[in-house]
């Protein structure tokens, strides 16, 4: 059973693009994160509701051409781990 992840609603984040990076201020924690792609895209994908890594990948594939698909699953899982450690997502 793959872990499900959820994100707080978009209203609880303030997001600003900063060249190649994205700044995310997470209101509930009051902490700012500097993130790189695909983190903002994963958060957007979670707006549709909690999902596991595989579903997130499927959602991302709807609007994006994905590169590096060979290890896409591992990459998404690693990002989710990282985002959970930072408090940007939680295991549902």
């Amino acid at each position: 059973m793959a872990a499900l992840y959820r994100a707080d609603p978009p209203a609880l984040r303030v997001t600003a693009a900063a060249d190649a990076m994205t700044l995310i201020y997470h209101r509930p924690s009051g902490i700012t994160h500097v993130v790189a792609s695909p983190v903002p895209e994963i958060l957007d994908a979670l707006d549709e509701g909690p999902a596991d890594a595989r579903s997130i990948l499927a959602r991302l594939a709807v609007a994006h051409d994905l590169s590096g698909e060979e290890e896409a699953g591992a990459a998404i899982a690693a990002r989710l781990d990282e985002m959970a450690a930072a408090g940007l997502v939680a295991r549902a």
């Binding site: 009051g30 902490i31 700012t32 792609s37 609007a63 994905l66 590096g68 290890e71 896409a72």
Partner: protein, 138 residues
């Protein structure tokens, strides 16, 4: 690596054309999140739960709060009694953002309390809490 970009939306049925863009998923080992913890954010985890006493009991004694937020002698005309309990960061934030009265306070008292809170200075109880509320700007 195979031809991954072929025409997934072959039916073309969707009325809304979405602009597809390339998303680099990167290597699993390539970290993508750096968290910033500024000095003031050390308390940020509890920003919404921190407390602001109105007034600071140590400094105000049994003083009341004038309409302009200054601490005045008890029973001063136009002044209001001290708030019965400290307000939380969340309550003050809601009042700042939405103009809602502070809980348990009528309009006049809430306005005096908010004026007091706006005048908080470093070293006064509640200042750090109030300052940390100022950081997030949406």
């Amino acid at each position: 690596m195979s031809g991954e970009t072929q025409d997934e939306g072959g039916k073309g049925a969707d009325a809304t054309p979405t602009r597809r863009r390339l998303l680099m998923l990167g290597a699993a080992s390539a970290s993508a999140v750096v968290t910033i913890r500024p000095a003031l954010a050390q308390t940020a985890g509890s920003v919404m739960h921190c407390e602001i006493p109105v007034p600071d009991p140590i400094r105000a004694g049994n003083g009341w709060i004038g309409a302009d937020g200054a601490i005045v002698a008890p029973d001063t005309p136009g002044a209001v009694r001290p708030a019965p309990r400290p307000f939380t960061g969340e309550e003050v934030k809601a009042a700042l953002r939405d103009g809602m009265p502070l809980p348990g306070a009528d309009y006049e008292a809430s306005r005096a309390y908010m004026n007091y809170i706006r005048r908080l200075q470093s070293g006064v109880s509640g200042f750090t809490c109030y300052a940390s509320l100022q950081m997030p700007r949406g």
